[in-house]
Assembly symmetry: C2
Homo-oligomer: 199 residues x 2
DNA sequence: CGAGCGATTGAACCAGGTCAAACGGGGTGG
DNA sequence: CCACCCCGTTTGACCTGGTTCAATCGCTCG
């Protein structure tokens, strides 16, 4: 009612997270969320105290944290891979049944997506990930890349390999430097899609 | 009514598929299914005519082919990785809402599972896959492995590497030979779990 | 300015890929 | 019944893409 004029439906209590920010932690309580934009990354917290394992990605439209609706607690840690916006789910006006089925359909694609990000040579994996990070569709687009160690974790490569691969892409003018080196605030180079189609 | 005496609830029209058998094809019409036992493998049929790409696995309890409920057609090809049993979904007595939420929760784990199968060294991947193929829980268990090329595809290795790795495991008595070499009917070696815990 | 952290770059190494050959069992046809 | 073929598996030799280890750079923040 109050401020929902130009927002997507039922986004009144949307929450925004900046790249790298924690969304929820494994074992914590909270609602399920619908991703309205951006990319969310999941971690499986290993019981044996070792560091969290990459466990998946969710993109716009998908639901995260459903298990909390059934069991009361999240199973995974979720962090924002890119800046993103989430709203509590289910929410608003959609028919619940269709909403659920749609969510389930999207969830089926999640596995295929991460598989693709770990298939083929380093350069193919990274191109696919960059594509995923770009705002959909548009033939030429820009996006800010996450820290190399995150890219490495998702693609099952090392940060060094990612760096070398990105350098190659930069040399071929597939992506633009724009911030070649980084300091504390993790921001990496921007990307131009152009040639990326040939993945 | 004829043969449903000792079957699980709502499994009247369960269908059994033998390892390697096609369950449904991308673009075909049909119901969604619930996997009651066994492991189902998905393929994404590449539009450009190349061979199908591995796109995920579903295990007991999960729902496959939901997209057909919304769009009328399957998005993936599904084949039986192990002998398995499916029944049309939704079916029977469960509260539909809970059933959907549960399905959605399981779907969230699918991505984590395939990621794990493509993480770490060859031997770890294969151990994880074997674990997945074994009937749950039981400390010592047996299962028949799929053809090496299937294992290779799932773990993002080559059939040669899989063969060498399995030979190693056989040498270490982690798995048992039982059918070391194979002919036309693809049946591979059987497995004993015992040492598999140390994955 | 100095510390800290991520990115970059180089050099050596190795796990796994690639190519090729041989094997073995089941199925098929004679 | 036997010979042959097909196909998945096994094994070897070699090669390479990516990892590992380590040094350096650059930016940001204190």
């Amino acid at each position: 009612m109050i401020d929902s004029a130009d927002m997507p439906i039922s986004a009144q209590d949307a929450r925004r997270f900046k790249s790298g920010q924690r969304i929820h932690d494994a074992g914590a309580e909270g609602p399920a969320w619908r991703v309205s934009s951006g990319v969310v990354r999941f971690h499986l917290i290993d019981e044996s105290g070792s560091e969290p394992l990459f466990a998946g990605l969710a993109v716009g439209g998908e639901i995260v944290g459903v298990e909390a609706l059934l069991f009361g607690r999240y199973s995974y840690r979720a962090t924002a891979l890119t800046d993103c916006e989430l709203s509590p789910w289910p929410g608003g006006a959609t028919t619940e049944r269709d909403s659920l089925l749609h969510a389930l359909t999207l969830a089926e694609h999640r596995a295929a997506r991460v598989v693709a990000l770990r298939s083929g040579q380093a350069i193919e994996r990274i191109r696919r990930l960059i594509r995923l990070l770009l705002p959909q569709a548009s033939a030429v687009a820009r996006a800010e890349l996450p820290p190399l160690r995150d890219i490495a974790e998702i693609t099952a490569l090392t940060a060094e390999t990612v760096s070398r691969t990105l350098s190659g892409l930069r040399r071929q003018k597939v992506i633009e430097p724009e911030q070649p080196r980084c300091g504390r605030g993790h921001k990496s180079c921007l990307v131009a899609l152009d040639l990326l189609a040939a993945a």
